[in-house]
Structures are given as structure tokens and as C-alpha cells.
């Protein structure tokens, strides 16, 4: 690396739609981005997109649900780049089940990937961020944290991310580490592509701005939250086209 001291941002799930958009925006804003994903091909594609655009990026395989893989990621980033300024916990899985249908098969991976992994990574970046005089942790939650039909375990893990965001922000504010959550509404991505078309229609119709979100809507906010001069911490910010102030979504298939 020739140019010194670019802030280093780890983005998990950077092979996915929202993660790739966040990685790309952060690189545009001058970060050296570590694109981490279970999907190595996706992570490499994100890296390639950034580097051909003149940005700086690195790609890593990460299973965020696996303890050894998480430790390896953090150690590798510190080894190669010497610092960590931003962590975006964006890797996530959506396994739908109503409360009565929830079993270990849904619960265990959802907890591991959406909650335990992000919290463990947050813990592991606290020391490196503290040595840099601060940093920004961004947890990608979901509108589902407000309650949503048919996704009991998903909404539980996203609510838990919001909970940890608030207490961590209180605890780490004095050392300059900011912690925020973003709660996207329906965003057009491979994750949400599995939803039936009528569900998507219903969701868009219930959105005051009358469109689905796109990954860049989330990425622009994440970039602002990553900005070292930001005065925002402990917040959960909805990127939902106004969806969360309107119809409550009591019915099945208003998911995401």
C-alpha cells in the first residue's frame, strides 16, 4: 500500500446487495474497505468493482456465525492494514417462520448470523478503534424490529441489534466510538427477491414514497454514519420511504 492512513472499514455481507453498495460508497468516501462475505465470489466482485473505480479494497471470506472465522478476519485486517475505523454489520439471513413454527433449524442460524456474529465482531473492534481515538459501528437491522408478521426470530435478532446499539453507544461514546443501527424497509435485493410479487406490490403501495428501497439508499446513510465527524450515535434510523409511519403490516407477506 503506497498511500498512508486511509481509514479502514470492514463490511460484512459485502458480497450481497446492500453490503456491496455500502462498501462501494465507503470506498468513494476514502475508506480502505475490507469486503467480507461467506460468498467469496461476491466479496471478490465487490472488491473488483471498487478497485477498478480507483478505490482501495480487500476481500475476505467470513462465516460470521463462526467464532474462528471472525477472529481470523479481525486479526487479518489488523495484520494487513494496521487499523479498524468502521465496522458495518450487514451480513444477515432471513428465515421466515411464525412463532408456532419456530424450531432450532431456524433459530440457531438466525441467532448465530444475525446476532452473535455481529456482537462478537463489535466487541473485537472496540480495542483497535479505541487506539485510533474512535470509530463507527453500524448495525444493519431491519424494519422488522418494530414487529412483523411471520418473522419472529428475524425480528427478534434485529431488535436485539437495536438494544445493543443503544447500550454500547452509551458505553463507548466517551472513547469516541459511535454505534448506530439502520432499519431498512423493503429493499430490492436477492434476499427479498424470494418474496412473492403481490407481497412486493403491497409493500410498495404501503410506502408513502411509492417505491421499493434500493441498496444505495442504505449505503448513503451508512456513509454519513461512518463519517469521523458525525455527531450521531445510539440511533436506529429507518430507511423505509415512510413505510413505518403508515400501515402497520398486520398481515402475512408484508415482510422485510
Amino acid at each position: 500500500m503506497s498511500a498512508p492512513v486511509a481509514p479502514v472499514a470492514i463490511v460484512t455481507g459485502a458480497g450481497g446487495a446492500i453490503g456491496a453498495a455500502i462498501a462501494t460508497r465507503l470506498a468513494e468516501a476514502g475508506h480502505l474497505v475490507v469486503a467480507a462475505d461467506l460468498d467469496q465470489v461476491g466479496a471478490a466482485a465487490t472488491r473488483a468493482g471498487i478497485t477498478t473505480g480507483g478505490g482501495r479494497a480487500d476481500a475476505c471470506r467470513l462465516d460470521v456465525g463462526d467464532q474462528a472465522s471472525r477472529a481470523e478476519l479481525v486479526a487479518g485486517v489488523l495484520d494487513r492494514h494496521g487499523r479498524i475505523d468502521v465496522l458495518v454489520n450487514c451480513a444477515g439471513i432471513l428465515r421466515d417462520a411464525r412463532i408456532g413454527d419456530l424450531t432450532e433449524q431456524t433459530l440457531l442460524p438466525t441467532l448465530a448470523v444475525n446476532l452473535i456474529g455481529p456482537l462478537s465482531l463489535a466487541r473485537q473492534v472496540i480495542d483497535p478503534m479505541t487506539s485510533e481515538g474512535g470509530g463507527s459501528i453500524i448495525n444493519i437491522a431491519s424494519r422488522a424490529w418494530l414487529g412483523i408478521f411471520g418473522s419472529a426470530s428475524y425480528s427478534m435478532t434485529k431488535g436485539a441489534l437495536v438494544g445493543v446499539t443503544r447500550s454500547l453507544a452509551l458505553e463507548l461514546g466517551p472513547v469516541g466510538i459511535r454505534v448506530n443501527a439502520i432499519a431498512p424497509g423493503y429493499v430490492q435485493t436477492p434476499m427479498s427477491a424470494s418474496l412473492p410479487p403481490q407481497v412486493v406490490r403491497r409493500s410498495v403501495n404501503a410506502t408513502p414514497l411509492r417505491r421499493a428501497g434500493n441498496p444505495d439508499d442504505v449505503a448513503r446513510l451508512a456513509t454519513e454514519l461512518a463519517h469521523p465527524q458525525s455527531f450521531v450515535t445510539g440511533q436506529v434510523i429507518a430507511v423505509c420511504g415512510g413505510r413505518t409511519i403508515g400501515q402497520p403490516g398486520m398481515a402475512e407477506g408484508t415482510a422485510s
Binding site: 424490529w145 414487529g147 427478534m156 441489534l161 447500550s167 454500547l168
Partner: protein
């Protein structure tokens, strides 16, 4: 602040949901939150056992309680109307029952040094919100109390509130802070 709400309010032995009392209409769940645990002090193993297992236990306890109120809940039946957004009472204006969940107020609102506890509370809060939505069609109500155990007269206040909620057929998905104003002037989660 020790988070011994579960002990205070005689929490059910939720690790063994089958040990819950036989069918009654109204239940109070006081899930044991992980004791004042900060993320900085919680290794990966503690995250799994203290947080993950506690949330799983809570899911299973709520599954069990909901199915005690209405056996249709588990396993869910395919013919339940998926678009139900009607009233939460039956024609006679009655509900099938209610679940009231009790959480520690300070950790739910956010408190330095309590990040793992707050993750648990946030998880349960969102789970309760989802259940309030999902269980409407079974006429089951789900409400949450955020309690400061140092509140003067806390046991009586919780008892009064729980009793009131049991007899309020149209009230679900509510979050009530019994916390001497701890939530005043701040954004609630």
C-alpha cells in the same frame, strides 16, 4: 443493579416449558435476562450461552404459553387466515387470553455496561411486537412491561398493571414503563 426481576416476580421455570402450569387464559412471563453483562466482558461463548440460549428459551416459553391459550398456535394450521387484520376480540368481545412480558427497564432503555443485557431486552421487545401482530387472529394479546425493580411499591404496581391488562380485551402490543420516569425525555427503543 442486579437484574433479578425473575426472582422477584417468581418467574416460571422457562428452561423447561413443559413444567409450566396447565392451561389458563392469562400468563405473565418474566424471562431471566442475562445479569448486567457488557459486551466488552462477554466472550463468544458467553454470547452463545448467556444471550443466544436466553433468547431461545424465551421463544420456546412464548410458544408454549401461546399454545396453552390456543392450541391452534403450535403447530400453526395452514387454514388460519393469513390476511387477518380484524379485531382481537371474538364476536362476544372477548379475547382468548393474554401474555404479559416483564423486562428490566434500564437495560431495555439502554445503559452503559449492560450491552448484552440490552441485546436480550431488545430481542424480547421485538419478539413481543411480532407476536402481538401474529397472534391477533387467535385473539391472544401480548403486552410488555418495562419495570425498574427499585420503583417504590414495585410489586404492587406490577400486580395492578398486570391485572388491568388481563381485563382489557382491546389492548395489545403495548409497552408500559413502570420505572419512576426513567424513560421520560428520551427516545424509547
Amino acid at each position: 443493579m442486579a437484574l433479578d426481576l425473575a426472582r422477584m416476580f417468581g418467574g416460571h421455570p422457562i428452561a423447561d416449558p413443559t413444567a409450566l402450569p396447565p392451561a389458563r387464559k392469562h400468563y405473565v412471563l418474566v424471562p431471566p435476562a442475562p445479569e448486567s453483562l457488557s459486551l466488552t466482558a462477554a466472550g463468544d461463548d458467553a454470547l452463545v450461552t448467556e444471550l443466544g440460549d436466553a433468547l431461545r428459551n424465551c421463544v420456546y416459553a412464548l410458544q408454549r404459553l401461546a399454545s396453552l391459550i390456543d392450541s391452534v398456535v403450535a403447530p400453526h394450521v395452514a387454514d388460519a387466515d393469513p390476511d387477518y387484520d380484524g379485531p382481537i376480540q371474538d364476536e362476544a368481545g372477548q379475547d382468548s387470553g393474554s401474555i404479559t412480558i416483564v423486562l428490566p427497564a434500564a437495560a431495555t432503555l439502554g445503559e452503559a455496561g449492560y450491552s448484552v443485557t440490552s441485546a436480550f431486552c431488545g430481542g424480547v421487545l421485538s419478539l413481543a411486537r411480532t407476536l402481538a401482530i401474529e397472534l391477533r387472529r387467535q385473539h391472544i394479546r401480548v403486552n410488555t412491561l418495562m419495570v425498574d425493580q427499585h420503583l417504590p411499591g414495585v410489586v404492587a404496581s406490577v400486580a395492578t398493571q398486570v391485572t388491568a391488562l388481563m381485563s382489557m380485551p382491546g389492548v395489545t402490543g403495548q409497552e408500559i414503563y413502570l420505572a419512576d420516569g426513567l424513560d421520560c425525555g428520551r427516545i424509547r427503543p
